[in-house]
């Protein structure tokens, strides 16, 4: 009975931690198998401990090339989507104009559409235009689907912003440009940063839309997809583990910096 009561009281914690375990299990497996020395082409069975792959992460033909293509596309997609998305977000929050509802739906639709539908329709457009599939078509597609996420992130931040701050700046004789650069932009910055980070992650990891519109260009997810058929090198796990660690470190650092700043303010 004591156990049943204990279980009842802690049910949420137990169930929540089990879900967390389910979420993290593949990452643990990826990390462990980055130290494997597989027999044959596939890295699905544990054989022997080895740090060979960590010593030579670019030892697989074409893998680091695909990684660099993915980073370039993600970078430019982030720049493009962030600039265009921020402009739209400001227009939507700050101005009343006709067709606002229509614009909102057009922003919402790409997020509510299965990726495969967008991927296929873009391919029909490119085929009809006779466009050469590759770096540029991937970039165009990535900017398109990242755009809505940036708009949503920036909009949320600008909407919660106190308009009196800008009025105060204008009362203190700041011109429109100065008000924007010194007041509006810094306040909107966290939203813009969140949108940009999301764009980078979405673009870097996108497979479905890229798969349709890449032609013979191989991004990192395309390389992983191909390797699932041809044989997965251990180096893929090394990159996966490194990405996870970099992300955790990045977030932890930003949290530490935030904490310090808050303490200084207090």
């Amino acid at each position: 009975m004591a156990f049943v009561n204990w279980f009842k009281r802690h049910f949420v914690v137990i169930a929540g931690l089990l879900t967390l375990g389910y979420l993290l299990l593949p990452n643990v497996v990826v990390t462990v198998f980055s130290f494997n020395k597989p027999k044959g082409r596939f890295n699905y069975e544990w054989q022997q401990f080895s740090i060979d792959a960590w010593k030579d992460p670019c030892g697989v033909a074409d893998m680091c090339g695909s990684l660099s293509i993915s980073l370039q596309i993600a970078f430019w997609a982030t720049v493009g989507a962030t600039v265009l998305g921020t402009m739209i977000a400001f227009a939507l929050v700050r101005y009343r104009f006709r067709a606002r509802g229509a614009v909102n739906s057009l922003i919402f639709l790409p997020m509510a559409m299965p990726e495969v539908v967008m991927a296929a329709s873009l391919l029909t457009l490119f085929l009809n235009m006779g466009a050469q599939l590759g770096f540029w078509t991937i970039l165009i597609a990535h900017i398109m689907f990242c755009l809505s996420f940036v708009v949503t992130a920036v909009k949320a931040r600008v909407m919660s912003m106190d308009p009196r701050l800008e009025q105060a700046a204008q009362d203190l004789y700041a011109g429109p440009a100065q008000t924007f650069l010194r007041v509006t932009l810094p306040i909107a910055a966290p939203g813009i940063a969140a949108g940009a980070l999301l764009s980078f992650a979405l673009s870097f990891d996108d497979f479905i839309i890229t798969n349709f519109n890449a032609g013979s260009t191989v991004t990192f997810p395309m390389f992983v997809w191909g390797s699932a058929q041809r044989g997965t090198p251990v180096q893929i796990n090394v990159i996966g583990t490194a990405m996870f660690l970099i992300a955790v470190l990045f977030v932890l650092t930003s949290m530490v910096i935030n904490n310090r700043r808050n303490k200084q303010k207090a």
Partner: protein
Amino acid sequence: MSTLTEAPPPLAPDVPETKPPRKRGRWTPYWLLLPGLLWLVVFFALPMIYQGSTSIQTGSLENGYKVTWHFATYWDALSEYWPQFVRSVFYAAAATILCLLLGYPLAYLIAFRAGRWRNLIMILVIAPFFTSFLIRTLAWKTILADGGPVVGALNSLHVLDVTSWLGWTSGDRVLATPLAVVCGLTYNFLPFMILPLYTSLERIDGRLHEAAGDLYAKPFTTFRKVTFPLSMPGVVSGTLLTFIPAAGDYVNAELLGSTDTRMIGNVIQTQFLRVLDYPTAAALSFILMAAILFMVTFYIRKSGTEDLV
């Protein structure tokens, strides 16, 4: 100032003036919108029109395609691939329900019970995102491998006997069965359920729980009558964010499934990229879009949260 006897009416400090009137720049919003919207119109809306026109074309790759208003393609595609459509809806629904059941306790834990661990758990929910989802999905091949610890444990508990009888698994394997695909889908879209749930749970005032307790509500009653109804916006957006991408996904079915678990995404991908039968592929993709829009509209109406979108 000293002659002023009547104080001016106090400015309500909590209600910021909603929209400062703008005299200058009547055209500014349009200039701000123009580049981004142009992008969406040309690379999102226009492609849909092209796809629509492709779906009613006939012809061949060699001789070229022509719009012939051949709507029979839709009928042929539906009658040939309806099992994959049904399967997609079924798998996506199963994954969505599992995501809700698994994700709710974790979101609840982060929102109300985690205390100073909140940020750490949040990081652990988001960080896996940064490892390519294909790599993580491939890891499930190792986890669910034949004769691996998971399959061994399920076997010794006789779980696999039951699931095989239900048709979710076959014999003593999990890989290449519906269970593996649903497991992968659930895993892949779980964070999309947890984050909206967390956002709506976090907004709930903790004092409401105390009030319910003071009124002699048992914890479960409090959950059923107070917490869950208040978290409905999160439930609705979470289920949409998992169901829609899951229904169109073909990665999990390809990597973890077999030919018996092909979803509609797999068919569209094969038709477009390997068979090169563009009209059929376009028709299938249009049917998927229409089906999802229909289901989503119905669902939003039913759940009474139209203001959500």
